[in-house]
């Protein structure tokens, strides 16, 4: 591409600007500087010579046009020398194109931003409550009749979101069991209280660690998948298509997912219990010299079965929170692809948060009930 040059000649109260070459948007800012540097105070006449230009693009035309307007504003006479038809046409195009001013994005102050955000959060909370209301009031009635229950979808979801997660749940819990045992083994050794590792692990794993870890893994794995699946279906109008065919998405997509996770979660927690205890047992054996027989014997005597049931009971509740938040976030997806990523992140964060709140409530409740 030929470079464009600007030659400026002064004489008394006259300036001549001679442009040559291809004047395009790459050159404008350079020329703008040169033009801005001109001292126009005593100038009465400016000549713009475009005859040596071989090409003028629309951005450069806007630049020339603005410069002419600027000169007119300063009451300086302007001559435009331009014989080439294409270049005249380009200038004409810009001059005659009426464009409205672009709207300014309104500047918001901090108070307004906080207010709007809070209000949006409040509306979001209300809409989640509305979602739960809808879920319970109109949808639970489907489950009244056995023939309404969509066993196939539920089975499919149990497989997708739980059975396929068994491996990762087991592995994570195994490692957690390992780590917790390892950390406490060191402390216990100091006091020679080696055998109490069984009490400690048994209680913490069965009651808290296994249910929580399972919930976190499932929220990250299956909750986010629910959001992404349903969100994508919303964008491709599949949900609308279902509605027009009389297939209620709540019945086909929402309820099966929630039920599937509620059914599968206790099983996952059980698997997590087993693998975490195995992890702890290995450390107890290697680090503290407690044989598996001794470990299990002690486990049997000191860990009441109620602790196991406390952990398992939490399962369906956590599952309900994870699944309903995941599905709700999927339904909140708007008609753009960004929205899927945003809502998927939100669904995981909110699900984990909700699970922890729920766990805290359980803790208080169980303690006060003496369980």
């Amino acid at each position: 591409m030929e470079r464009s040059l600007l030659k400026i000649t002064h004489s008394n109260d006259e300036i001549t600007l001679i442009f040559s070459g291809e004047l395009s948007l790459y050159e404008i800012s350079k020329f703008q500087k040169q033009v801005d540097a001109l001292d126009l105070d005593k100038i009465k006449n400016v000549t713009l010579d475009l005859n040596q230009l071989s090409f003028l693009d629309t951005a450069a035309s806007i630049f020339i046009n603005n410069f002419q307007k600027f000169l007119a504003f300063k009451k300086i006479d302007t001559q435009l020398i331009c014989d080439k038809e294409e270049i005249q046409a380009s200038l004409e195009l810009v001059k005659n194109q009426k464009s409205d001013a672009l709207p300014h994005a309104k500047q918001k102050n901090i108070i307004e931003i906080i207010g709007k955000e809070t209000h949006a959060k409040y509306l979001g909370f209300l809409s989640f409550i509305a979602f739960l209301g809808l879920l319970f009031s109109t949808k639970i009635f489907y489950l009244k009749s056995v023939k309404n229950i969509r066993f196939r979808e539920i089975a499919f979801e149990i497989n997708e979101s739980a059975i396929k997660a068994l491996g990762i749940v087991a592995l994570t819990s195994f490692l957690i069991g390992l780590v917790v045992a390892y950390q406490s083994a060191y402390q216990l050794k100091i006091y020679g209280a080696n055998i109490f590792i069984v009490d400690m692990l048994g209680l913490s794993i069965l009651r808290e660690l296994a249910p929580l870890m399972t919930a976190v893994v499932i929220a990250g794995r299956s909750g986010s998948a629910f959001t992404a699946q349903i969100g994508a279906m919303k964008i491709t109008e599949e949900l609308d298509a279902m509605r027009t065919m009389g297939f209620d998405p709540y019945m086909f997509l929402v309820i099966p997912r929630i039920i599937a996770l509620m059914v599968a979660m206790p099983i996952l927690i059980f698997v997590a219990d087993v693998s975490a205890v195995i992890g702890g047992m290995i450390i107890a054996n290697l680090d503290l010299g407690i044989t598996p027989e001794l470990f299990l014997d002690r486990f049997n005597t000191v860990i009441d079965v109620k602790h196991f049931f406390v952990g398992i009971t939490k399962g369906p509740f956590f599952a309900f929170l994870i699944a309903s938040i995941g599905v709700y976030r999927g339904l909140m997806v708007q008609n753009d692809t960004q929205s899927i990523g945003f809502n998927t992140t939100k669904s995981v964060v909110e699900a984990i948060f909700a699970v922890i709140i729920c766990d805290a409530i359980f803790s208080i409740a169980f303690t006060n009930l003496g369980i």
Partner: protein, 242 residues
């Protein structure tokens, strides 16, 4: 001729933006009726309101004798089986192949045997001009034109009386678009359908539509046959049907 869809004084707002301002129109049985107008004038919105995907702010829509303002759940479910809807992008269920997509309503709503269902599916696939060998392809494996045909076959699977099509020929090459027009005309005469079409395709508008309503600037600026369209006073009509 009996009226099957009657829209009366419908007003639609998105937050504070008005899209429809008291619009009224009526569609007769057996008609191919077009909803036309510039982009963003609310054609899709009106279509969505007719098929109960969206609420309007005031006015009323009556379809096959049901007033949508007061319709009850069971009635609404029944009504949904009497129409087919073709969405702009097809909206086939991406987890199901073409045959399963078409079979889904039949499986859910009837007690037909699997053999009978597969007969019906085969018939519908060929009716819309797809090949039987395409039946096992998934939506991600077929072209835009095939998607529209497959979606049409799904919309027709329950033998509806009423068909809603949102821009059926947009995004198709001219030859497929003309094929689609012929298909629509053929289906109307074969199955006695009433069809509501949103379209921008001038050729297909002239070839297929019996009557049209033109929405411009929130109002219906013209309703009637294409013959008298020049009589209407609207910038859109003057430029579009010049």
């Amino acid at each position: 001729m009996s009226i099957i869809i009657k829209v009366t004084d419908v007003t639609t707002m998105f937050e504070d933006k008005m899209v429809h301002d008291r619009i009224s129109l009526s569609i007769n049985k057996g008609e191919i009726y077009g909803l036309l107008g510039p982009s963003g004038c609310g054609k899709t919105t009106l279509l969505r309101e007719m098929v109960m995907l969206q609420k309007y702010n005031s006015g009323c829509i009556e379809i096959l004798g049901n007033n949508l303002n007061y319709i009850q759940y069971e009635k609404a479910q029944k009504l949904r089986r009497e129409w087919g809807v073709l969405f702009q992008a097809g909206a086939l269920f991406s987890s199901l192949n073409i045959a399963q997509n078409i079979a889904l309503p039949l499986k859910e709503y009837t007690d037909l045997s699997d053999k009978m269902i597969s007969e019906i599916v085969k018939f519908k696939i060929n009716l819309v001009g797809l090949k039987s060998r395409d039946a096992l392809l998934y939506p991600s494996q077929i072209s835009g034109g095939m998607k529209k045909k497959a979606a049409l076959a799904r919309a027709l699977s329950m033998d509806p009386k009423l068909l809603f099509l949102d821009e059926p020929t947009s995004g198709l090459d001219p030859i497929s678009a003309r094929d689609f027009d012929n298909l629509i005309l053929r289906l109307r005469s074969l199955l006695g359908l009433s069809i509501v079409i949103v379209s921008h395709d001038l050729k297909s508008i002239y070839d297929t539509l019996d009557r049209v309503a033109i929405i411009d600037n929130k109002k219906i600026v013209y309703e009637g046959t294409l013959d008298n369209i020049a009589s209407a006073n609207s910038h859109f009509i003057k430029t579009f049907f010049k």
